[in-house]
Symmetry: C2
Subunit: 145 residues, 2 copies
DNA sequence: CTGCTTATTAGAATAGTTCTAAAAATAATT
DNA sequence: AATTATTTTTAGAACTATTCTAATAAGCAG
């Protein structure tokens, strides 16, 4: 059996290193959550992630899911995307990119191209530093009235 | 007395015309809400607006404030800004512009410069049309850790 | 007027998220 | 190893912004 096939172990070591590298104590629950979250690039709600972790047979409380997502976001492991008052997504891809949001279907899609104004930095309000640029392009279906 | 000084009446005519022009039936409550909302360029929450209307001595239910803000936003009289799960602002300035949000102070500030990628239009997902471009640049205080 | 549609209302209900206080796990110290 | 201190997790209650409900009121057309 090749190392390549031992995904879970590899993944797990990577995850632990990843958490450490971002100053996150890699506890059991955080690793369980991260395993599911970083299995692929995805946009998930806290609730979806809570269910997804349950699917794996592991048990993590909802409070921990919320705490962990908040922590990961603060530590820049993931990105929070606030679509509206009832839709907060967490993006397992923390790289600089932006999103389309289809208001008719609820789809949230990555934008590949770099669009955001990096050149804007110098014009930030006095005494502030850039935290993150959130660009969401809301689109609607053409057929929908 | 010059016409210029008769703000309320002028304002009121303008408001009514404005609502009509956007296909909004200018009912009494909607005019009351619009009077307060469009008195100046501002970012308000539904609750703040509810209170502000009350301050004027008029009475409008909270449900109507929510309904009206939703309607105005759909009709593009105003813009909704989703800062996070507990902060939805309504911007009485519906022109194309963007925002700084200071995560430490909660301040939401207009960005004067045009930054957003208009040139992006052609690359929208299949079968969709542009609705709105929401760009929020989150900043933090330099002194804050 | 009379009926028909639209708008408003108070308050209940909902949904997403945060809080609380206790238990459990982990780490540090003797 | 035993003890203490610190951090993390947990269940469930609490909270908050928003939406829903179902009744009333207002506006309009015939």
């Amino acid at each position: 059996m090749e190392l390549r096939d031992q995904q879970p172990i590899e993944q797990n070591r990577n995850i632990t290193e990843m958490l450490n590298a971002h100053g996150v104590n890699p506890t059991k629950q955080r690793r369980l959550i991260a395993d599911v979250l970083f299995a692929r690039n995805q946009h998930v709600t806290a609730d979806q992630l809570f269910d997804a972790v349950k699917q794996t047979g592991s048990r993590v409380s909802k409070a921990t899911v919320y705490n962990t997502l908040g922590l990961f976001a603060r530590k820049k492991l993931i990105r929070e995307i606030f679509i509206d008052a009832t839709r907060t997504f967490y993006d397992s891809n923390n790289s600089h990119h932006h999103h389309f949001y289809n208001v008719d279907t609820g789809d949230l899609i990555d934008i590949k191209e770099r669009l955001a104004p990096h050149f804007l930095g110098p014009n930030l309000p006095d005494g502030t530093a850039m935290e993150v640029v959130d660009l969401v392009i809301r689109v609607k279906n053409k057929n929908a009235e």
